[in-house]
Symmetry: C2
Subunit: 141 residues, 2 copies
């Protein structure tokens, strides 16, 4: 059910699509400070995880956790962050964010005030290019 | 495996315990601006969701989603927020946060800069008292 006259994630993919199936898609987040930051977006419109039945929820979470594993092995972060918020875009999606002790916001969430100016190491940005292949390997499709 | 000499969620429950089983516990978060905010904390020490095997992960997430449903039905928020971050306390736990358009940070995450001073409606604070019973009903134990 579409709750909004206009929903960003109904009207557009929400970013470059790295992988998709019938339930959801994985998109790259355009955030230069955070290479390897991806979102897993439900294809159909639903506002809350609690609006999904158990089968759909399990299929979505299997992708979220496979993507988490792919991001972790590719990006080698100090910590992984997962979040389903949707206050701005109330269409079910998961943020999957590799975090480093020297990143802009650590140890705070990426939505908090920046703690420092932080240049992204070149090697880190380079690794993000392997993410699409890693996701495919992890999901086995 | 304990990665830290001292881990807050190994050394203490992490708040008043509303419910627990062998895998995890549900604790009330002491945050007056957010009645109904709870955390689901893994009992054993693990740093990342990706360190759990599928069976343990599924059992934990079943509790997280049951708690989400209990919070939603009890607190009747405008939006639910779920997050597993752990940058400060790297011991697997989930934040389950009922959000309202008039709360301190909306539409931003609760970790962002406050948007306004916001008194919590009395009725909202009262509802939070029913949470423990609602969680028990949802989990069916």
């Amino acid at each position: 059910m579409r709750l909004n006259a206009s929903c960003e994630f109904c009207d557009s993919p929400g970013g470059p699509v790295l992988w998709r199936n019938d339930v959801c898609r994985v998109v790259r987040v355009d955030e230069p400070a955070y290479p390897g930051f991806v979102r897993v977006i439900l294809n159909r419109h639903a506002t809350e995880m609690g609006d999904l039945d158990a089968a759909e929820r399990d299929r979505l979470m299997a992708v979220v956790f496979a993507v988490e594993a792919a991001v972790r092995e590719t990006m080698r972060p100090d910590k992984m962050n997962l979040a389903s918020l949707g206050n701005m875009t109330p269409h079910v999606h998961w943020h999957v964010v590799p975090r480093y002790r020297d990143d802009r916001h650590f140890p705070h969430p990426v939505w908090a005030a920046a703690q420092r100016e932080a240049a992204v190491p070149e090697e880190r940005a380079r690794r993000a290019a392997d993410l699409s292949a890693a996701i495919r390997r992890r999901i086995g499709e």
